[in-house]
Symmetry: C3
Subunit: 505 residues, 3 copies
Amino acid sequence: MKPFRKSIPVCILLLLFACFQESLAEEGKRKRPPLSPQTQACIGCHSRYTPGIVQDWLTSRHAKTTPAEAVKKPPLQRRISVETPPAELANHAVGCYECHSRNPGNHRDNFDHMGFRINVVVSPPDCSTCHPVEEKQYRGTKKPLAGKNLMENPLYHTLVSTINGVKEIRDGKIVTRPPSATTLQESCLGCHGSSVQVKGMKKIKTAMGEITVPDLTNWPNQGVGRANPDGSLGTCTACHARHSFSIEMARSPYTCSQCHLEPDVPAWDVYKESKHGNIFFSKQQEWNFSAVPWVVGRDFTAPTCAVCHNSLIVSPSGEVIAERSHDFGARLWVRIFGLIYTHAQPKSGDTTLIRNKEGLPLPTSLLTGEPASEYLIDKGEQERRRTMMENVCKSCHNTDWVHSHFEKMNVTIKETDAMVHAATTLMEEAWKSRVEDRTNPFDESIEEMWVKQWLFYANVVRYASAMTGAPDYISFKLGWWELTNNLRNMKDMIEMKKVLLKKGQ
Amino acid sequence: MKPFRKSIPVCILLLLFACFQESLAEEGKRKRPPLSPQTQACIGCHSRYTPGIVQDWLTSRHAKTTPAEAVKKPPLQRRISVETPPAELANHAVGCYECHSRNPGNHRDNFDHMGFRINVVVSPPDCSTCHPVEEKQYRGTKKPLAGKNLMENPLYHTLVSTINGVKEIRDGKIVTRPPSATTLQESCLGCHGSSVQVKGMKKIKTAMGEITVPDLTNWPNQGVGRANPDGSLGTCTACHARHSFSIEMARSPYTCSQCHLEPDVPAWDVYKESKHGNIFFSKQQEWNFSAVPWVVGRDFTAPTCAVCHNSLIVSPSGEVIAERSHDFGARLWVRIFGLIYTHAQPKSGDTTLIRNKEGLPLPTSLLTGEPASEYLIDKGEQERRRTMMENVCKSCHNTDWVHSHFEKMNVTIKETDAMVHAATTLMEEAWKSRVEDRTNPFDESIEEMWVKQWLFYANVVRYASAMTGAPDYISFKLGWWELTNNLRNMKDMIEMKKVLLKKGQ
Amino acid sequence: MKPFRKSIPVCILLLLFACFQESLAEEGKRKRPPLSPQTQACIGCHSRYTPGIVQDWLTSRHAKTTPAEAVKKPPLQRRISVETPPAELANHAVGCYECHSRNPGNHRDNFDHMGFRINVVVSPPDCSTCHPVEEKQYRGTKKPLAGKNLMENPLYHTLVSTINGVKEIRDGKIVTRPPSATTLQESCLGCHGSSVQVKGMKKIKTAMGEITVPDLTNWPNQGVGRANPDGSLGTCTACHARHSFSIEMARSPYTCSQCHLEPDVPAWDVYKESKHGNIFFSKQQEWNFSAVPWVVGRDFTAPTCAVCHNSLIVSPSGEVIAERSHDFGARLWVRIFGLIYTHAQPKSGDTTLIRNKEGLPLPTSLLTGEPASEYLIDKGEQERRRTMMENVCKSCHNTDWVHSHFEKMNVTIKETDAMVHAATTLMEEAWKSRVEDRTNPFDESIEEMWVKQWLFYANVVRYASAMTGAPDYISFKLGWWELTNNLRNMKDMIEMKKVLLKKGQ
């Protein structure tokens, strides 16, 4: 088959589009807004070659309205935050070309495709054309910085490399090779995000013949802290998946569950076993996941992740209970994902800046748990954020209930920190008695047990406390039972390794 | 803002209620039954301050009918079991005040709230005003006694304290502090229930100003064996959650799954991987979870927890297959949740009475598995209960299928008891050879492995056998693979600890 | 109650059926096709004695159409593959008797039941009366051979027996008894299938009195590789469950999840945490699981198991993207379920034929991973199958995306094989240094760790790579974290066992 060329007449693409339109008509769909000529050309081919994408987009609001229409809604109902959409976009559906052609000057992945200049990757700045408030909230927070915060923190980077590097046995010893880009991409960076760079151009064979496309590193890629070829950080598609850009999906706890789950960030696992989760699973088919604003008690009868953390929530009478935010830490004051201990949320989304009093890139002292306070939000800011969260709780729970809940959580934070401290004390003994070596604190058996104490078991107990649930989970599955037994096993292992050490000498 | 006072005029509350009514009218809801003046007053404020609760209640049958109407239904369709509802309740919707004002003389949590005497906690005796049959079935069974049975059994209490106490390292030793009320409440007692007592009164700041409320221990609390401030045990809201009091939710396996799950009571995990669960997950959206009575094959096509254990099940032609019961052991004859071994169900819901032949508070001998028969139901009663369960199975399976199923289960019970016996034999050896100390049988490494053998792995295999499913789960995930390897690891650990013991001497 | 006899007059059965018809009429169901007199007789009693089965069948297409009607549909919409249905079946609904009376000469479980000759078990050859294409695709593939491939491979058989046999402690040693048929049936063979043979006839007491029925081994039984009493292998009901024979259920990932799940075949667990799974869980209620053919983007917006592996998929304009196949390996080229290492798919569904260069019944060399190529499909066939799979991916993803995905997977396959090789190297050292004994390679502690390396952890990482998802799962839950730590623990255990060995000498 002879390849298409960039000289391909637009009339042919439009002919293909006509066929597509006919099939749509057959489906008996309601009247749709006009498409730009460029998007018509895209759809002409892609409805044939990647029909799933096109169909997915057809289900989206982007296909069913125009920015000019969207902006007319009353403020609380608006799904678009730009005041005046750019004139050239205002009166067409938001189609392929509208998103994949933004800011070409910044996009190193911009290329000529069938006569059009196209970006492969759509970035948050591109989305900010119509959604500037959301992009601004999101920018600079921990989410878009998730890749950097992991890989440019020397301690975390060591953990990542220790786990993901291929091992060989050489002369009876375990030797770790540096992890491949592939494995990093499939494991840690699958959530955290990695860097999509343009290595050059390449020719590929497609159903339409040979075409030339940018040769990208780490692609496909939907990590929330992705570095984009336009120099920006982050990705909206991590939560607003694929081409339906759906608020329903972003509000679905299944979406959050892709990254926030057992054993290290067990939000999803705790939710599943909580009363809130029970109500969600039993009643979700009666809820309205697409209403804007989201009305407590009417659109949903129990919180999902989005309810507590970032959605615009109003009462049935229209009073705002919580403002929308795409800074997902906006209603969080304490970081229960212990590093190594709990601590107040960091001031900056860039946590690579933090140094504790031992000079380590950690928000707390390794040995004592003392916070690196200058990098963390102060009491006032903590209070402000907790009040925002409490307002959400108070939609359904009385004041005393809510206060008692957070008092309980404070106790649990202290107790889990104490359990981590006990493990760290044993770890110190193991290092001091030389049964293990602290150079790399993550590559020996007792060290592994120590990591599990804070990264898995303590986190699980804290998440369950914060999210009002999962009693059996934190009793026997992955909480107190393990916190307790892990200490004993650490101690037994230290004794046994002392015997081995003595024998080896 | 100036606080409301108990002298707040009812006319103001009713004015607030008028606004609420208007918003309801806007929602275009169908005609609703009249509300009592007291409930109107409650809603006047609470529709503003805790709108989620009010909306939740609006979805309930309590808001849509009156006891007088409910009692008119044909017996099999009735959702209320009182013969004649109290006159003062009969002709209003069942609202806030109707439930939160019952039996004030018994309620130590009764207090003056905006001019009304209110109980914070609603207890089973309160619900029995309209649902006396259900309360009577429930009273005295293992569910309301779940808190007592755990905490007043010295052996189980030791296990609870060993797991949940915060540990410190002192002089190189692990020292366990007594567990906090908070942690007990979030772990074991989250399901089992704890005691809600009135410590006194306290002032709290609310959106309406400062108010005085009872100061309760262990609150919030939805444990099924909760001790209530009116002296009763148990809680209906554990399963009929929050203010929708929904039979749909109580019938949802998600509700049961909050407490009956892996690793110790793996009913939910087994169900998920069973054919019954497969049908539920694939077809639930076509089922009717609210029909009373519940018609096999028409309202559901595979059993959920409630179908087998307690719902009123009838055939499409209206014949009763199984009577409703709120004694959740009514159709159970053997207790496969091994303590330490399987055994016939206890005669009394109060299992603290039981002593085995070694004098331990266990239903079987620790060493031999011999049952403490005088405390357990006899063969005749076992047979009677199994027949009730088999009748449910026979709705969809022929007699031979059902018999073969339960014969298989009997074999599995014996085999898992044998696997526990093997572990107990090794445990005895560890205790006798002094590598571990039996004083507290739960606080050392080999003891932990022994607990896992009966509490986790054997239970998993038995539940899968009883519930017709989960072959891979009991092969590799948490069953035979672990039962087998755990024995080896126990044996290896005994040998290693002998070396340590010798070295220490 | 006096037992029914085979002389029971058909008129009585038909009278019972009349009552049933009346109840149906009451339900206001639409016009149904005629039933054969035999099926009317079955339903006459069974609507009373096993109403759930009858109701389930009433929901099926078998109850709503006739083969003669079904065969009239345009080819792509057809759910029946016989060209001309047998005359005696063509014009009735497909009822009890139509399926349970096929090929009586082959069925050793055929018996006289109330005057009719009935087979207890319905086998794939019975279904092939109307679905010959599907049965032919299925026959001889790994699915119907799953029981044989497990139990007649000496190595796998040893693994099965080692895990599932009851253990006793005799003279301080762990002694394994051969596993019972019951436990095999509930564990490994629950999925793989076992042999249903007729031991003779037996009398059983039923609600209708004493009747005589075949006495079957291993029954009930829905394992996919079941050996049937007519001499055939396999079972359709493993996926098309019970009497609704539903394509919706067979397409539901919940169905596949009964057997393909963590820790050894973690397809389901990976799917749940993937973007594809996220879309399924968030959007499934809007999908159409019953449409034939299945239209990408319209009937579903993300793949389920069936989409990728065997369903007939077409584009919205009606072009076939993938043909239906009941050979579930038809679109698979590499076997990522490592035995011990990954390898090209076997040529024959009967994998008991395979011998590696060491003479072991494995598709790869134990020590080097070298494939037993003569038993495996060649490069050309691999290419052909991968192209079929890629065509499915390309419905929604562009060519470069798809290629990059499979390139990544190739890297992961190599890396996980290397991680298995490292464990095997340590295992070899353990065997050589005699700390464990290779006679049974599955019955000691280090051997158990070695099995976990390839059967659990490496598989998990490969499945996640293949299925585009589950980054956290393979980082911390059951992938690289475990692959890495397991090696260290193996090494530590070897050192410790050397101390024990020395001490024992």
